[in-house]
């Protein structure tokens, strides 16, 4: 085991702790978008796929790199876009409520 591996292990452990702590009290309706957002984040494997394309030098290596890059890019791009589409559906209560409340206030006037 080399010092580098220990450093990496430290980073890994700390990131696990951050991950555990960050999901504090997410409401059930946000579970699906949150899953999707986390899914998009591991699309960062694209960086790794790009870096192996650099070291590749055999046809097999290039093939692996091509598939990896395509997979990873699909994960990242698709993940963020689909999460955004889902979240668009969860319109903020504030915005939707506002006209509603106004409606109640001026309710009498509206009938004139």
């Amino acid at each position: 085991m080399v010092p580098g591996a220990l450093d990496d292990l430290t980073v890994f452990l700390l990131s696990l702790l951050v991950g555990f702590e960050v999901i504090s009290r997410v409401p059930a309706t946000l579970h699906t978008p949150l899953m999707s957002a986390a899914n998009a984040i591991h699309g960062v494997v694209l960086v790794g796929a790009m870096l192996i394309a650099v070291t590749a030098d055999t046809p097999a290596g290039y093939a692996l790199a091509l598939v990896a890059t395509a997979f990873a890019a699909m994960n990242a791009v698709g993940g963020y876009v689909v999460t955004d589409r889902m979240l668009q559906m969860f319109r903020a209560p504030g915005r939707a409520d506002a006209p509603d409340r106004t409606g109640t206030d001026t309710g009498g006037g509206g009938d004139q």
């Binding site: 085991m1 579970h31 394309a53 290596g61 698709g78 559906m89």
Partner: protein, 471 residues
């Protein structure tokens, strides 16, 4: 270390911070969208920084450039197209598909690294070989498992649990093959053959495990596989020595793990039981004996329309059946007709109604139901006793009073108190079971009227009947 290297590593750190902040913001509906954009910005910066470092290295062959450009282009195109074009109801299978390719990419990085540097004569240290092995196994399982989950959710593979004979023994055998092959890589002679065997066995294991799980458990499974991909990506980070991959992967691994537990808890199902499989019937088959129950009172469209139209207040309870019948638009039309007649309408949204968390919110939002009318369980429950009619559409378990008693599969799950309303009208095709596979006592309650029909047909018929009534 050149100044560029330092700059790139600082950008990587900033990107990792963006991922954390993004996830943090996802805790509340008000900030969730901003969080996603934050996270995407971090990803963007990381990719640009990587391009900079590749450019500066100057060692990339033209073929290498082509591979990077082509791969990114294909992936981006496929991701954009599917993410934009898919129907809102097909989101979970798409997320699962994206997860599959992510896991695949992580596994490919490990495979590539082993082929280049590993093996008996290779230069990989023990720690690095361990990371490669974990990366390949976990990534491959996530890949094939997620593909099957996606196919189940899409309906290309039967939703019901597919239980092979001797399932336990077969799974154990496949797992043993993986362990032996990994042993070869780690302590033994290693080599491409061992790697290939391990990959194939991992592919098979992912398929077998997920096939045995019922379609309705899929959201939890997808979330778990998502966490697996996170861990695989972290391992890929170990392999290529990239701290950002480690951070992002571990982050997703841990938060995805917690999320999986939260989701399972919300359905009152232990994760272990889900993974063992065999539970749930997937989508209930149509054509169960209709109206055969004793003490069940049925109702027809006209009668139901009258009760609805002359009610002061109606609370609508949507469930999985509404999604299965794709009847959200018909439901909204009916609700609007009733509102024109002065009926007060609310939708009672149970947190795990449907087959994925937030399913009903998304479905109703798609049909343009006003946000203010979608009421959460805790908020609406005390109001059922002031409602004239509770209209239950394709919901079953989330209204089953058996949950209030101990000893049933859904005991302890909070339910919507529809049985406190003056009249309950239930729209579904039969007296068949829901996800949990148990009888619903609500259906024999004297206040309940069953309208046995497909939700889409029934709601259109109700709409027509209300119009006739008025016109």
């Amino acid at each position: 270390m050149s100044a560029l290297d330092i700059a790139v590593r600082l950008v990587y750190l900033a990107a990792a911070t963006c991922f954390v902040v993004g996830l943090h913001l996802m805790n509340s509906p008000a900030t969730a969208r901003r969080g996603n954009i934050f996270s995407a910005a971090g990803m963007w910066a990381a990719v640009v920084a990587t391009l900079a470092i590749i450019l500066a290295s100057g060692t990339v062959t033209p073929v290498g450039w082509t591979v990077i450009a082509l791969g990114t282009l294909i992936g981006t195109g496929a991701g954009l197209y599917t993410a934009r074009s898919v129907a809102m109801t097909a989101m979970p299978q798409l997320v699962s598909l994206f997860n599959a390719v992510g896991g695949g990419a992580a596994a490919l990085i490990g495979i590539h690294d082993y082929l280049r540097f590993g093996g008996p004569a290779g230069e990989l240290t023990g720690a690095a070989t361990t990371a490669v092995t974990l990366d390949v196994v976990i990534g491959t399982v996530a890949f094939s498992g997620s593909l099957v989950a996606s196919a189940k959710l899409q309906g290309w593979v039967a939703g019901r649990p597919l239980l092979l004979p001797l399932r336990g023994a077969v799974n154990a055998l496949v797992a043993a093959v993986i362990v032996v092959a990994a042993g070869f890589l780690l302590g033994g002679p290693g080599g491409t053959l061992a790697l290939a065997v391990m990959v194939v066995a991992a592919l098979v294991l992912g398929v077998l495990v997920v096939l045995a799980i019922g379609g309705a458990d899929m959201p939890v499974v997808v979330s778990l596989l998502n966490a697996c991909t996170g861990v695989a990506v972290a391992m890929a980070g170990f392999v290529i020595g990239n701290a950002m991959l480690i951070i992002a992967g571990a982050l997703v691994g841990a938060s995805g793990g917690i999320l999986t537990k939260l989701m399972a808890d919300a359905m009152n199902r232990p994760i272990r039981a889900i993974l063992v499989g065999g539970y749930g019937t997937g989508d209930t088959a149509a054509g169960l004996p209709a109206g055969a129950g004793e003490g069940v009172r049925t109702i027809d469209a006209d009668d139901a329309a009258i009760r609805l139209a002359y009610a002061g207040r109606v609370i609508i309870v949507p469930g999985y059946g509404l999604a299965a019948a794709q009847a959200q638009h018909e439901l909204h039309e009916l609700a609007e007709l009733l509102e024109e007649r002065g009926v007060r309408i609310d939708y009672a949204i149970h947190p795990v109604a449907g087959r994925m968390p937030g399913h009903m919110n998304v479905l109703l939002a798609e049909a343009k139901v006003p946000y203010a009318q979608m009421r959460e369980m805790d908020e609406i429950n005390p109001e059922f006793n002031r409602a004239d009619v509770a209209l239950v559409v394709g919901a079953n378990d989330v209204t089953n009073p058996a949950a209030r008693r101990p000893g049933t599969p859904i005991s302890g799950m909070p339910i919507l108190d529809v049985d406190r309303a003056e009249t309950v009208i239930v729209v579904k095709r039969s007296l068949g079971h829901g996800y949990a596979g148990i009888d619903n006592e609500l259906y024999t309650d004297p206040r309940t009227r069953m309208y046995l029909a497909d939700a889409k047909t029934a709601l259109s018929a109700l709409g027509t009947a209300v119009k006739t009534l008025v016109g």
